[in-house]
């Protein structure tokens, strides 16, 4: 279980390979990459976080996933902060497990919880100026499923 908050970009293929390295019990790796979308003229965004609390909350989310799906063998969460442009990668969640069901479920669970519980805030830049992104009710609904 490894968690990083960083300004640097990541290599999803390398991260998936690391989840598999040296293991013979893994049959499935489910992963997710979040990307900056160019909706509504967005050109870039800046991600702010709460140093200390953000790391703790991601560790708690990951620990909860491992408790719910004990067959999960390894997981990795990377979340970038700072200024990112359209098309840039924001977040990576990778889960390795024996079978696909638990890998998919844990990966989606972590993303849903991260969206509603981890202290990150996005400020978008458009031609019209900058604006803080508003939280979406659909994210709360997604997290409430679990």
């Amino acid at each position: 279980m490894s968690i990083s908050i960083q300004t640097a970009d990541f290599d999803a293929g390398r991260e998936c390979a690391d989840l598999l390295a040296g293991r013979h019990d893994v049959g499935a790796v489910a992963s997710f990459i979040g990307v900056v979308r160019g909706d509504g003229g967005v050109a870039a965004m800046t991600l702010e976080h709460y140093p200390g609390m953000t790391e703790k909350s991601l560790a708690a989310i990951a620990a909860e996933a491992r408790e719910r799906w004990p067959a999960v063998a390894a997981l990795r969460v990377i979340h970038r902060v700072g200024r990112l442009r359209v098309g840039d990668q924001i977040v990576f969640v990778g889960v390795a497990g024996g079978h696909r069901g638990e890998a998919f479920a844990a990966c989606e669970f972590i993303m849903d919880y991260l969206k509603t519980r981890a202290p990150f805030w996005k400020k978008e830049e458009t031609e019209a100026g900058v604006r803080w992104v508003e939280a979406r009710d659909s994210d709360d609904a997604a997290a409430a499923r679990w």
Partner: protein
């Protein structure tokens, strides 16, 4: 008691600074009481109760969560990461 208060994102910009060291003549109080006190002290952005979230010592808190000496209390808008 002494508290360290932090503000994040749009709230930090509205307040105009990242935090305040607060001294209060009480032993304990709730997050809601602290927020009301700070709003009454002139931090108007803290008056918009509905949209704000809080954390105590870096753990998500409720309005009724109790706060004591030395605690770190953060106020911020709903999170939008991922």
């Amino acid at each position: 008691m002494k508290l360290h208060v932090k503000y994040f994102a749009s709230l930090r910009e509205s307040v105009g600074r990242a935090g305040d060291d607060v001294e209060l003549p009480c032993e304990r109080l709730s997050v809601a009481e602290l927020r009301e006190h700070l709003a009454a002290q002139g931090i108007e952005a803290l008056a918009e109760t509905g949209k704000l979230r809080a954390a105590v010592n870096q753990v998500m808190a409720e309005p009724e969560t109790s706060v004591g000496d030395g605690d770190e209390v953060a106020f911020f808008p709903p999170v939008t990461g991922g």
